[in-house]
């Protein structure tokens, strides 16, 4: 029987395999950031252990860096200590670090592909659940905890149970691809399969609706695999993938010979078997807006906030969850989504802060002003994205519309830095999690695409961007 792409990558990385139980898997790329690594380096020190392969390890600081002027000191002392700790750890253990002043600094999942560090057919880990982003390049990429970070630093391997392959087919063509985006596709998928729908699996996204996407859009899809509970999400590489990585700063010297090998090997065999399947038809899907406190609590922009009964479809626990979510979000069932007023707009995060996201959002706001009731910010995913955007004059479009234009970092996606919501504030956000308090204690998050966030900023409430001319 044939193998899935995931199984091929897995099999090519087994160092020690057993009949049952976990296998020892080799890790080709280890990305490190300031929040989930200090205890791992401490563990190495306590046991007199070294980093086995500093040459396969790259670090940056993204989670708690301020996104204001880089010339200013970091006022939050605990953030500052964490950043200094990463600097010292990288120095002590010989790891390449893109620090706060590096032109390569940025969200770890944005810079990996931009620098050509992410490679097809490789295994990539990071102490961050959104590592699944790199799966867009046909890599097996997943988030790990700090103990596993220590294990990879020490041994360049991990003991892993083999997840099950899950096929998600995205079929059809979007009628308006500028208004209905990759974010809407992935939110639709999570809405259907639920936040636990992918638990124990690696998703392979396939079909015309995926092949049509650019690399940056594919990253948005794979990024949110974890929000469906999947260990990883991946997409078979094609010429778009190989073109994207060609000639980048850290693209390997023997890249073309690797591409030849990948073209032959990195695809799911026709007779391969998936353990689970789901198909989404995208011809008629609408822009999505989350209304609750997990990404599965999402509906079309044209719909109304559902009742707990409509959402839960008879499951009493889900019903309780929906009641609690509506209470937290201060929303009434039956309210049209387009009537929900917002206070803040955040365009940023590893989900949606790449150049294309900023270009698309800028088309919505060009020549307009942010609603006087709204505070809006754009936080580019990396300093490279920021520079490219500025060369195109996008910063001017955003600032002319009264958006704040910031330095790169995770920013208000998780609010570990000074960028947070105040209690009760409602935000249209291009990030990935609408959990209670995620963007600030008491803050209310609605997940949307960059164009939907931009349109909400101008109007002060959600609007269906399909009504706008975005070509």
């Amino acid at each position: 029987m044939g193998k899935t792409l995931f199984e091929k990558i897995w099999d090519a990385h087994v160092v020690v395999g057993k009949e049952s139980g976990p296998s020892l898997i080799y890790i080709d790329r280890h990305l490190v950031h300031e929040v989930t690594s200090p205890q791992a380096f401490d563990g190495l020190r306590m046991n007199n252990r070294k980093v086995r392969r500093p040459d396969l390890t790259i670090a940056t600081m993204d989670h708690n860096v301020p996104t204001t002027d880089r010339g200013l000191p970091i006022l939050d002392q605990t953030s500052s200590i964490q950043i200094q700790t990463l600097e010292k750890n990288c120095q002590d253990f010989g790891i390449k670090l893109f620090d706060i002043n590096s032109p390569n600094q940025g969200i770890v999942h944005v810079i990996g592909p931009q620098l050509g560090i992410t490679l097809p057919g490789s295994t990539i880990v990071c102490g961050d659940s959104h590592t699944s982003t790199h799966g867009a390049f046909g890599a097996l990429a997943f988030g790990i905890g700090t103990s596993e970070v220590e294990h990879v630093l020490a041994s360049q391997t991990l003991w892993l149970e083999k997840p099950k392959p899950f096929e998600i087919r995205v079929e059809g063509k979007r009628k308006n691809p500028h208004a209905v985006t990759a974010k809407d596709i992935v939110l639709s998928i999570i809405k259907h399969i639920g936040t636990g729908g992918g638990t124990g699996t690696v998703i392979e996204y396939r079909g015309e609706g995926i092949e049509d996407l650019s690399m940056e859009q594919r990253m948005t899809i794979c990024n949110m695999s974890i929000e469906a509970g999947a260990r990883a999400g991946l997409i078979a590489p094609d010429e778009k993938t190989y073109d994207y990585l060609r000639g980048r700063q850290y693209t390997p010297k023997n890249y073309e010979s690797l591409v030849e090998y990948w073209r032959e090997n990195l695809k799911t065999d026709d007779d391969a078997k998936f353990e689970k399947q789901f198909t989404l038809h995208i011809d008629d899907i609408a822009p999505q807006v989350s209304w609750g406190t997990n990404p599965g609590m999402t509906c079309d922009v044209t719909e109304t906030v559902p009742t707990p009964d409509e959402f839960s479809k008879g499951d009493p626990n889900q019903k309780k969850g929906a009641e609690k979510a509506l209470d937290y979000m201060d929303l009434k069932s039956g309210t049209p989504i387009e009537e929900i007023k917002i206070d803040r707009v955040f365009i940023g995060s590893c989900t949606n802060a790449r150049l294309e996201d900023l270009i698309e959002a800028s088309k919505v706001i060009k020549g307009q002003k942010v609603s006087p009731d709204v505070r809006a910010m754009v936080v580019p995913g990396s300093q490279m994205v920021k520079k490219q955007a500025e060369e195109m004059g996008l910063d001017k479009i955003f600032t002319d519309a009264n958006f704040e234009w910031r330095e790169a970092g995770c920013s208000m996606c998780l609010g570990m830095n000074p960028d947070i919501l105040s209690p009760g504030e409602r935000c249209a956000s291009t990030s990935n999690r609408n959990f209670e308090g995620r963007q600030g204690a008491g803050g209310r998050t609605h997940l949307v695409s960059p164009v939907m966030a931009a349109a909400a900023a101008i109007n002060g409430h959600f609007v269906d961007v399909r009504k706008m001319d975005l070509s």
């Binding site: 020892l24 929040v35 205890q39 961050d128 149970e161 636990g196 509970g229 390997p252 959990f435 308090g437």
Partner: protein, 194 residues
């Protein structure tokens, strides 16, 4: 790591589904560079009001559960962020067993690195356990939970069981395979980053 073999205590019922790691330990407490002392931040936003006074309606603030070591929660426990701080907080607070119908993958794996036993059981059994007011015994060696009225067997992977029972250091185990790792590296086609 401290070995885990058996524990007996009353359960703490947390009647919620999809409890994410942002709730278990909110992000403002992730800036510490050590592993200890996270217990006081456990479920912080559910436990305390905006003035940091305990909320009387949250289960952890009920003193009858003060000595409980067993948390019984709803489906998909530990979803979201990979932060191991969530497990450090549960452990530091005093929990050594978490029972739920299902767990998110990364959280589940993080538990075993810190001597916490996560047990997934059928939804109906979990609902029964949430009503249990008498102490229950969780026996890892024999893979059985004993309540005042029933014995409930549970499944666990044999490798994970051994790690908990013996409190094994994962990395030391892996170093036994160092020659295999070196052998693998010789034939790998993925080059160094730098």
């Amino acid at each position: 790591m401290e070995p885990f073999k058996k524990t007996t205590s009353i359960i703490t019922p947390l009647d919620k589904v999809n409890v994410d790691t942002d709730q278990i330990v909110p992000k403002q407490f992730l800036k510490l560079v050590q592993k200890s002392g996270f217990g006081k931040f456990l479920f912080f936003n559910w436990r305390y009001d905006e003035n940091e006074n305990p909320k009387s309606d949250f289960v952890l603030n009920d003193s009858k559960y003060d000595d409980s070591q067993i948390l019984v929660a709803g489906d998909n426990f530990g979803c979201g962020s990979s932060r191991e701080h969530a497990v450090w907080a549960l452990q530091d607070y005093g929990f050594s067993v978490i029972i739920a119908p299902s767990f998110a993958d990364i959280f589940f794996s993080n538990c075993f690195k810190n001597g916490i036993l996560p047990i997934s059981l059928d939804q109906k059994i979990v609902e029964r356990l949430q009503q249990e007011s008498e102490p229950i015994e969780v026996d890892l060696e024999n893979q059985i939970i004993k309540t005042s009225s029933e014995d409930i067997p549970f499944e666990i992977d044999s490798h994970k069981k051994k790690i908990l029972l013996e409190g094994l250091d994962d990395i030391a185990q892996t170093y036994q395979f160092e020659d295999k790792i070196s052998e693998f590296e010789k034939q790998s086609i993925i080059p160094s980053v730098l």
